[in-house]
């Protein structure tokens, strides 16, 4: 096991800068996801850690060792590829033992590791089959097994579940979490699926255009997004954004008006907000926090474009009168219908606030959420509280 420290990592392809000064500290035994949209550089970052890309700058340390210039084979890592990368002409046993045998490992030790990995992954009965004879889930297990037999300090997983169907993905997600618990080894997992990232990770790195947009626990990303990108990227349906202006400011909060707002809205801030009167801001609010209400209580009004009924809840897509769109999540039996005029209240306690540069202005959280985030932050990898583990 080992912690990993990445400092000012840069990588480009020709004139295209893909990674622009990445700094990360990943704790020993932690499960970290690299999350971001296509082209954000998450796979390149993973491949850089694996030593499959030549860096333009920066350094990578694994434990006490600087592995920046080490060849992949000497980094003490293992990688699981998106398309499994199993050798199609070798059976499962050979796929697992191929690398070990060529590194001069003794037959007994190879057999022990292969048997052990096969038992852990429940693929013992498949050892004599070729990859072609396996289902997607079985192939994925073999690919993970090939990583396990190396007994590496760091596991790198590049979208390992993206080729599986939805049901199998859920099953494999649970198995991966259990495997991490069992192996107690540092794992880095690349995905563009936020559900995978939120459910599997101790912490998530959100990448945007080659930069770390935010690095935090899943709940922290959801409840305390550092900027507009993270706020819009995490959560489904995505957060709604409404433009407004600062009408008034004081030590403990702001009063917002104008923009898309029909009525003034007062918001508390944790500390004096670094913005003055008339400054433009963006309000962010999760769809499930919006309330359809009467005209005299409403901050916004609009017409319903579409209602998606999902049973327990309904997604209401609204075109605002002042321009722009909103999505509200209401209870499944709410009688709202298409083309209906609706009035929307924004509960100020659930609002996120962003300055003109898209940076979050810190707001107080309710006690329950704060306690939950603190509890998650206090936890180390695989559950136990950090202080307890180091005690």
């Amino acid at each position: 096991m080992a912690a990993i420290r990445i400092e000012n990592l840069c990588k480009g392809f020709g004139s295209l800068e893909v990674l622009k000064g990445i700094d990360l500290d990943i704790a020993d035994g932690e499960f970290v996801c690299f999350l971001g949209p296509s082209g954000c550089g998450k796979s390149t970052l993973l491949r850089s850690i694996a030593g499959l890309e030549n860096l333009d700058g920066g350094s990578i340390r694994l434990g006490e060792r600087d592995i920046t210039d080490l060849p992949s084979a000497k980094r003490d890592i293992a990688m699981v590829f998106q398309n499994y990368a199993l050798y199609p002409h070798m059976n499962v046993r050979k796929n697992l033992s191929f690398g070990l045998a060529l590194n001069g490992m003794k037959r007994d030790e190879i057999d022990r590791r292969v048997t052990n990995a096969a038992e852990v992954l429940r693929i013992t009965e498949l050892l004599n089959r070729k990859p072609r004879q396996l289902s997607g889930g079985q192939r994925q297990r073999v690919a993970i097994g090939r990583a396990i037999v190396r007994e590496p300090k760091l596991f790198l997983l590049d979208e390992p579940l993206s080729n599986l169907d939805a049901g199998l993905r859920v099953t494999m997600r649970v198995e991966l979490a259990a495997l991490h618990e069992r192996l107690a080894v540092t794992m880095i997992y690349v995905t563009h699926d936020q559900v995978e990232a939120m459910t599997l990770s101790d912490r998530v790195v959100v990448l945007d255009k080659g930069k770390v947009s935010q690095f935090g626990t899943p709940l922290e990303l959801f409840y305390r997004p550092a900027n507009l990108f993270v706020a819009g990227f995490i959560g489904s349906p995505r957060m709604n954004f409404v433009n407004a202006n600062v009408a008034d400011e004081c030590e403990t909060g702001l009063r917002l008006a104008g923009g898309g707002l029909a009525r003034e809205l007062s918001l508390d801030t944790l500390s004096p907000a670094p913005i003055g009167r008339d400054c433009p801001v963006t309000l962010g609010i999760r769809p499930n926090k919006l309330e359809l209400t009467s005209p005299d209580e409403a901050h916004l009004a609009g017409n319903v474009r579409l209602v998606e009924r999902l049973g327990t809840e309904s997604h209401v897509h609204i075109s605002l009168e002042g321009g722009g769109d909103l999505t509200a999540v209401v209870r499944g039996t709410h009688p709202v219908s298409t083309r209906e005029r609706v009035h929307i209240r924004i509960p100020s306690e659930h609002c996120h606030l962003f300055d003109a540069d898209g940076k979050a202005i810190e707001r107080p959280l309710d006690a329950e959420t704060r306690a939950l985030i603190n509890q998650e932050e206090g936890r180390g990898p695989r559950g136990p509280v950090l202080e307890e583990r180091h005690a």
């Binding site: 499959l52 890592i77 293992a78 050798y87 199609p88 191929f98 690398g99 070990l100 199998l168």
Partner: protein, 318 residues
């Protein structure tokens, strides 16, 4: 007749006609190819098989002689064995050289990033040059007095030999000239190399598998079907070697480049013994077929075909 019954019968007849149309339509679509195959491939093939059982002069009466052409070829015609032996010698050298050189060229081009298109075209170009043009170029290269090859050798103080006049060197000269057209084989192998997923190599690199082992245990097995295909096509082209030998050496000197195809050609168009030439063609066909079957049988144990179905019973679910 009852109206309802009549209607049912009409409906059944219509369905039958539609069914017939549905079954015939595909064959109509491929009929141009089928007709071409029947008249220009299968027809001549069977016709030549028939010819091989006849004494078939171009002009004059044809006489059925049964297996007599084959018997006299195997027992009374030393030229048959000599030409066959020269062809086997040629194939034994040409085929492995063709494949090994094509493989390494393909490997080089696969890794070359600078001007790869130019190099690919340059290496493939000789394959599209007509046989006659190729022979003209090589007869100039091999010329004893004015040839490029001997000129180059003279620059390093070597008195170049008579490449096409020496019975020992003439076959070497033909092998080299034939290898000049290895671009086709190279292109097939290059396509095969490009089809190997790069993740296989990356996974091996991370696992610490050295380069030579990646070549031996990943590249070669993954390229197996292509290698076998080029192996068989090389054997076929070696046994069909005619143009270069016919134009460059005319089978000489002293019959040292008198290939089997030339032997068949001479029997047909020099001695006008069509039946005997047809028998020779069929002997060549059987030899090539037998060799191809042996290669395929031998390769089955170690060549992996992605399309093979080796489905295990009932254990497909995760």
């Amino acid at each position: 007749m009852d109206m309802a019954y009549a209607g049912t019968q009409t409906g059944a007849a219509r369905r039958k006609r539609a069914s017939v149309r549905r079954h015939i339509a595909p064959y109509l679509f491929i009929s141009p190819w089928i007709l071409g195959f029947l008249f220009f491939t299968l027809g001549p093939l069977l016709f030549s098989l028939t010819m091989s059982f006849f004494d078939w002069p171009v002009v004059g009466e044809r006489t059925f002689v049964g297996l007599d052409n084959y018997r006299s070829m195997f027992t009374e015609d030393p030229q048959f064995w000599e030409s066959l032996w020269i062809t086997v010698k040629f194939a034994a050298i040409y085929v492995p050289f063709n494949i090994v050189m094509s493989f390494f060229l393909a490997l080089m081009l696969h890794h070359v990033t600078f001007a790869s298109g130019f190099f690919r075209t340059a290496f493939y170009l000789p394959s599209v040059i007509s046989g006659v043009a190729l022979v003209t170029i090589w007869s100039w290269i091999y010329s004893r007095e004015y040839g490029l090859l001997n000129f180059m050798l003279s620059l390093v103080g070597i008195d170049g030999p008579n490449w096409l006049g020496d019975p020992n060197l003439a076959i070497v000269a033909i092998i080299i000239a034939s290898l000049w057209g290895l671009g086709g084989t190279m292109l097939i192998l290059l396509t095969g190399l490009k089809a190997i997923p790069k993740e296989l190599y990356e996974a091996a690199t991370i696992s610490g598998v050295p380069g030579w082992a990646q070549m031996l245990f990943i590249t070669l097995p993954m390229l197996g079907p292509m290698l076998i295909f080029t192996f068989i096509t090389s054997i076929i082209s070696a046994f069909q070697q005619l143009t270069i030998a016919l134009l460059l050496t005319k089978g000489g000197p002293l019959g040292s480049t008198y290939f089997f195809a030339m032997y068949v050609y001479d029997n047909a168009f020099k001695y006008f013994d069509m039946g005997y030439a047809a028998a020779g063609s069929w002997v060549m066909f059987v030899i090539v077929l037998a060799l191809s079957l042996v290669v395929m049988r031998w390769s089955a144990a170690w060549v992996y075909y992605e399309g093979e179905i080796r489905q295990a019973d009932g254990e497909r679910n995760a």
